[in-house]
Symmetry: C2
Subunit: 342 residues, 2 copies
């Protein structure tokens, strides 16, 4: 493959507010040569996820930001093109954090083989990957839904939210989604089997959410923040649990809203209703990976879990696709098809 | 004793904002006669606690409010004056929720005998009672302090806060108090052995708290809310735990501050720092009562735990004393000495 030009996407500037395409730089790259103990990977699928907005900023967070001029960080499904690496052979399909580039060299440390016979390989970035595990652990280890309880999840048609509601149903809970627009809401109810879905763009979210949750809310799986959180919060029942997974409504915010913090409204409810609010990152539950993979793979095989992918073609489409993701334009797990295997 | 007039304190009106003495009515009462299976109790000590403000309102809460014209609710240490009740004899000293009255009749169901040889009987309302158990379970079951961590507690000289910091020290953590005024702060450090105490009335609480917590805050035991919470919140470390026990700064509030909720500042930090905020009521941990009592009694006997009582004399002083408690005027566990035993 040597000599074939590759492409990579660098972070060109730290976005102020919503990222612009000019915050990224696409450049050609030579196909790298694997040294001893290394292998050459070709990216097939690149996953685009909301957390990437955080890596573009240097605000304090749980992870180091991508440096200016550095390749954008990202998880991929890749193919082994050449290998000096024990345990990996040409043609193997692997999960690897290559970043936004068509080729990468790896020593195999962060790489895991994928069995293409088990499920479509792209699911290693979605329902069987980080988003799936985020849904599984956040819901079951923090949310702990009981049969008959009401579970609400925001961004319900997305990679994480869609699985949260379906697992809630499997556990016997009532699943209510919040999503943006009638098409997504229809999909969430008709295809994913949620009991209800409320369009947060449809006006008077608090009243319509209340109508969809006549017995209040026992678990709120929080992906969004802002006005969606504030519509949910007063409906929480005593002893409700709130796994805080994402805050996509605020990722492009340049500053918090002005005025008093008004935390009292939150802390007072936490007290009187004995709420639990707990933030988590999927890596906090790394030890649960095997359990997650067995459970969700089985549900997938049995047809109890559905998923939807939203695919952009070609790595040069990645910047625009990520901008759209942060606007809620994607419909399902957002992926970039970088190359086809073989 | 029949014929001796007693006194009781009724709720006369629901307070708007800070309670006034006219929200209570003190009246004479006849000494009641115990029927079959009942006993007559004389109140020796009445406990005054912040939760009582909640019982005076009919805003939604975790407990039913006291009705207008009803005797104010309250825990007491009492003496058995006459008994037709199995297991209780004249002269026994008991814990009993008599309410704000000098005499009560009980069927024994909510009554527990106290051994006066173990500790001063008033401690059954403080360090060995509900406030002690609140501190013990909230700190250890939710806060889970580890050796070397920093534990901050507000209302640090109070019945709950003073024990939280002392238990944190026993567990090898660094204990930092927040209290109102230099006398309380001095007591917290010099008598209770906290590592530091910050006066929330001293101006620029955020900066002085930060200086007192150079390694950030791992556990914040929340008794206060409002601006104290908002000074603590930015200093919370990753994986910090916040047992939300009280919100005394807001108990007299007639409305939440105007303006946007601004929950985003809270939920975003919960996410990126993986915080846990959890409200609790001591009764949620009822099963831990035996463990608590054995542990704290032992620490008390060994001199590892100190406590301080603030005593008002006579039940007619109770309304004014409760008003002062909500202003932070008490210094130590607030009790009303209603009568002396014997």
């Amino acid at each position: 493959m040597s000599g074939t030009a590759g492409k990579r996407v660098l972070l060109a500037a730290r976005p102020l507010g919503e990222p612009k395409e000019s915050d990224f730089r696409i450049e050609d790259m030579p196909v790298p040569q694997p040294g001893p103990g290394e292998m050459l990977l070709r990216t097939l699928w690149l996953s685009l996820d909301p957390y990437m907005r955080g890596r573009m900023s240097d605000a304090p967070s749980y992870a180091t930001p991508v440096a200016i001029g550095q390749v954008m960080e990202g998880r991929t499904v890749s193919e082994v093109l050449a290998s000096n690496c024990d345990g990996f052979a040409v043609g193997d399909i692997v999960f690897s954090p290559n970043g936004w580039q068509t080729y990468a060299v790896s020593d195999g440390k962060l790489v895991r083989k994928i069995d293409p016979a088990l499920a479509p390989i792209s699911t290693a970035l979605g329902v069987l990957g980080m988003p799936g595990m985020t849904a599984y652990t956040g819901l079951l280890d923090i949310g702990k839904p009981q049969a008959g309880e009401t579970v609400v999840v925001s961004a319900a048609s997305g990679a994480v939210g869609s699985l949260v509601g379906q697992i809630a149903r499997i556990k016997g809970a009532r699943a209510v989604g919040i999503a943006g627009g009638p098409d997504k809401c229809r999909y969430v109810v008709e295809q994913l089997g949620f009991d209800a879905c409320v369009d947060h763009r449809g006006g008077d979210l608090p009243a319509r959410l209340k109508a969809a949750c006549p017995k209040g809310i026992d678990v709120y799986f929080e992906n969004v923040g802002g006005s969606v959180f504030e519509a949910v919060f007063p409906l929480l029942n005593n002893f409700a649990r709130v796994p805080v997974c994402g805050q996509i409504a605020t990722y492009n915010a340049t500053e918090m809203p002005a005025g008093e913090l008004r935390t009292s409204a939150v802390t007072r409810a936490i007290l009187t209703k004995r709420l639990t609010l707990r933030g988590f990152i999927v890596s906090d539950f790394a030890a649960r990976h095997g359990v997650f993979l067995r459970a969700v793979s089985a549900w997938l095989r049995e047809g109890r879990i559905k998923y939807r992918e939203d695919v952009a073609d070609g790595i040069e489409k990645a910047p625009r696709a990520l901008i759209g993701l942060l606007r809620g334009e994607n419909f399902g797990k957002l992926l970039v098809r970088v190359a086809r295997a073989g």
